[in-house]
């Protein structure tokens, strides 16, 4: 049986810069995959290519055996791919609840029908449950732009989940959080695992990634340099060197 998500020989070129260089790996049904690597390794670019934000320069993304490499972004979303952003991108002038409601794909698939919904009151129950689960129920009417950092990150997760996705890509969801907040976040992520086929988690916090991931993919300079169980991969000399090298370069 083939994997749920197969990434094959993916390349992404930005003018002179090669951000993804022959990236290949699989993600299996039910898996929580950690994606790590030093700054500039190409982790975010990979998510952007898989979610249709950037077009691949070469290579293929297979989703359940279908080539989805050149599908437009909204089509990928409708096939169950959802994501968050490293630099938080909420709809700042919309309320917290609206940010979740707008992601309901039952309506975005037929936007003009919503004009004739009659006098029916909107059902916000599902969205409110999601907000509850990420701990934002009390903030439902606040403008998203007024949220604190950790709250905004959790709202991005709730919004991503509102479309009932099968695959969730989280780009550094714990960035900027303190230890307590990232513990809470880990609990939130764990609580959603059973409802999703695949979670791909980009994270610099090694403790968090070790705790959550079934398997790790390590990237450096656009290449995959290691794949495997967290304990093995984190002990791999090449991985240690990639991180140490990056740290030395940072000063």
């Amino acid at each position: 049986m083939s994997a749920l998500l197969e990434i094959r020989a993916l390349h992404k070129q930005f003018r002179g810069l090669t951000a993804l260089d022959d990236v290949s790996f699989d993600v299996a049904q039910g898996e929580l995959l950690g994606l790590i690597g030093p700054n500039g390794a190409g982790k975010s670019v990979l998510i952007n290519v898989v979610s249709g934000v950037y077009a691949a320069s070469a290579g293929t993304v297979w989703l359940r055996g279908t080539d989805v490499t050149s599908l437009p972004t909204y089509q990928l979303a409708r096939r169950g791919i959802a994501r968050t952003y490293q630099n938080i991108r909420l709809f700042a002038r919309m309320s917290v609840l609206e940010n979740v409601l707008v992601a309901d794909q039952r309506y975005s698939a037929r936007p003009f029908r919503t004009l004739f919904a009659g006098g029916r009151r909107e059902d916000c129950a599902a969205a409110e449950v999601l907000l509850e689960r990420v701990g934002l129920a009390a903030k439902r009417d606040a403008l998203a732009g007024t949220l604190a950092y950790g709250e905004a990150r959790r709202l991005e997760i709730a919004r991503a989940l509102a479309g009932r996705p099968r695959l969730l890509f989280l780009d550094e969801p714990a960035a900027g959080m303190n230890e307590l907040e990232s513990e809470e976040l880990a609990a939130v992520i764990r609580s959603f695992r059973a409802e999703l086929d695949v979670i791909v988690l980009i994270e610099h916090d090694v403790a968090l990634i070790r705790e959550l991931s079934d398997r790790l993919v390590v990237m450096d300079s656009g290449k995959v340099i290691a794949v495997g169980k967290p304990a093995e991969v984190l002990a791999d000399p090449r991985v240690i060197e990639a991180y140490l090298g990056a740290e030395e370069a940072d000063g």
Partner: protein, 277 residues
């Protein structure tokens, strides 16, 4: 006299809404003077040369502009921001040049023979378009458009077909501007290409900027003020553009989002809708 006020104000409200509906999806259009020209000339030819009744002619002219709007929207909406503004300015400019070169409609001399538009037509149309916009503002469509306006890319990654919505808004704006143009032509009885140049397009956008673009009431307020104030200060006639320029700059310093800047969250509107059994 009062008829003239109603007519001019009504037409300008429709034009302001035609820009507003395109703005709903985040695009600023200076093409609406051009769409208005299409409406004016197509409907005029239909009534004068083919004897088609005005209302039907206006609807057909609106449909023609809608199709034209959609066809140009696909390439035009590949650009954003400043570039899109320049493209829409180009659309207006080329429509004008095109009409000037068609002898069948009188070229730069203009076209005449139309009649029959009354303020009632325009008032009815304002009510119909206003009701449609109200319906949008109380729907999930409005929320999707808000999302597109705030961040197209994120909207797309949530499953919203951004191109579809933007093109539809562009077409709808073209339709409204063209129908308004139809009644304008049949009220003035005589139109020239220069009635529809860049300047009218800029004025229409200014109505919206003045009134505010975050709710459907801003554009008609802006259009009404900008139509009626100069009428009551006739002495200033030749200073009109200057006075407006200064007014707009002052206003934007004080109220950068226009006179009526508020936005009601769609969720609250939908929640407060009466519950039909």
């Amino acid at each position: 006299m009062i008829q003239d006020y109603v007519m001019q104000t009504g037409i300008n409200i429709l034009l302001a809404w035609s820009v507003y509906i395109i703005l709903l999806s985040g695009s600023l259009s200076f093409a609406n003077g051009g769409f208005m020209a299409i409406g004016a000339y197509v409907s005029a030819v239909l009534t004068v040369k083919f004897g088609i009744p005005l209302i039907l002619a206006a609807a057909l002219a609106g449909a023609a502009a809608f199709l034209f709007g959609i066809v140009v929207a696909y390439p035009a909406l590949r650009t954003r921001g400043l570039y899109l503004i320049l493209v829409t300015v180009g659309i207006t400019a080329s429509i004008k040049v095109m009409i000037e070169s068609i002898d069948y409609v009188g070229g730069i001399q203009g076209f005449t023979g139309m009649s029959g538009a009354s303020p009632w037509h325009v008032v009815t149309l304002v009510l119909v378009v206003g009701a449609a916009l109200w319906l949008i503002s109380h729907s999930r469509l409005q929320r999707m458009l808000d999302a597109v306006r705030e961040d197209e890319l994120v909207a797309a990654s949530l499953g919203i077909n951004v191109v579809h919505l933007k093109v539809a808004c562009f077409g709808a704006g073209a339709f409204i501007a063209a129908v308004a143009g139809s009644f304008y032509a049949h009220y003035l009885l005589f139109v020239r290409p220069e009635d529809f140049g860049i300047l009218p397009s800029v004025f229409i956008v200014l109505y919206v900027v003045l009134g505010g673009m975050n709710n459907l009431w801003g554009p008609p307020v802006g259009a009404t003020i900008m139509t009626l104030v100069p009428e009551f200060t006739r002495g200033l006639a030749q200073w009109r553009p200057t006075v407006f320029g200064i007014l707009i700059v002052l206003l934007l310093l004080v109220r950068p989002d226009g006179l009526l800047p508020f936005r009601v969250p769609t969720e609250r509107r939908l929640r407060n809708r009466p519950n039909n059994p």
